[in-house]
Symmetry: C2
């Protein structure tokens, strides 16, 4: 607001909400008003949930997942196959793979990908702890579930090199046509990969 129509506290709430991904200045104002109107039904529980998150959320020292316990829910889950470690760049990727329910394994969150341009080197990522984990006798396979971007693939190659002395199979996600995707809109690289890795019908 250009002129003061309320105390600075509301303006501050709007400014902080506007820094959330997906909210701009306009939607942050709408969100703030919505919160103020739904004071008991939404603002109170959200405040409490953030307070709880502030106090309790920790990063798992084993895998880098975020949770309210360390080791995290995934690391202590006895129903998960301890022989497979799925390497992801970010917790968001871990969540995405879990939503797909495609693998029942443990994870390792790198905290990003190697990116010389952005000044991200091996020391900035949780690569050393991954190598240590991979040398555990129980671990038989490391799945590199990294983005199919230059940075993601550079990171995958770097880790593969470091794992050569570990007694593990190193695998990566298949390239191919996304489910529901139309060939006409796909790039040549994806189409070539999908053809090379074609499977029996």
């Amino acid at each position: 607001m250009s002129r003061a129509v309320a105390g600075p506290e509301i303006e501050r709430l709007i400014q902080l909400l506007a820094r959330l991904p997906g909210l701009g200045p306009r939607s942050a104002r709408r969100a703030a008003l919505h919160l103020i109107k739904k004071r008991e039904a939404l603002m109170a529980p959200l405040t409490a949930a953030l307070q709880t998150a502030m106090e309790q959320i920790v990063v798992c020292k084993t895998c880098g997942n975020i949770d309210t316990r360390d080791p995290c829910t995934v690391c202590i889950d006895p129903r998960r196959d301890p022989s497979i470690i799925v390497v992801v760049a970010d917790v968001a990727d871990l969540w995405a793979l879990e939503r797909a329910q495609a693998i029942n394994a443990r994870y390792h969150v790198l905290g990003g990908t190697l990116s010389p341009l952005d000044g991200v080197g091996p020391g900035d990522l949780a690569i050393d702890p991954l190598i240590s984990r991979a040398h555990d006798d129980a671990v038989k396979e490391v799945v590199l579930a990294l983005n199919a971007t230059v940075d993601g693939q550079t990171t995958a190659h770097y880790i593969t090199d470091l794992l050569q002395n570990a007694d593990v199979k190193v695998t990566r996600l298949a390239h191919g046509v996304p489910v529901g995707g139309e060939l006409d809109y796909l790039d040549e690289g994806t189409l070539s990969a999908a053809l090379r890795q074609r499977t029996l019908f």
Copy 2:
């Protein structure tokens, strides 16, 4: 997440964020992760701002604006013209008019518009307090800044009737072509109104 990959506290934070207007389930997950990553820079101040809002935000008993003081910043501002009351349906409309900086007046927030279909009657809105305020000798004009919808205009007519015995001029926003708008895309009602209320160039 379909399987537990973290404690229920994170899931609860995501669910509450997803109830903000403008955020869906996917963007709520991104927002939650962003908050957790920017723990000190964003989550801590946002938690504090919400806590402050919970404790301090009140509705102004005079005009219905939300603020951390009652009477609110607008009602006590001595630079505002006390002879004009701008009637709006919602605090969001008050904010929008203030951003336009088009009038330096006091406001009155109705808290909605009359809507028989939704069961909103005159008793559900702050209409009686408006009529009382309009009878104050200092008030010379009531500007009905209500939506140009059926409900908004019904409300405007209802208030105009009630104000007939008050010594005030009742005005409403002009209809016309929005600034930057193209005639070809405007409805006939707007074009007719814009022609009828044409002004000297």
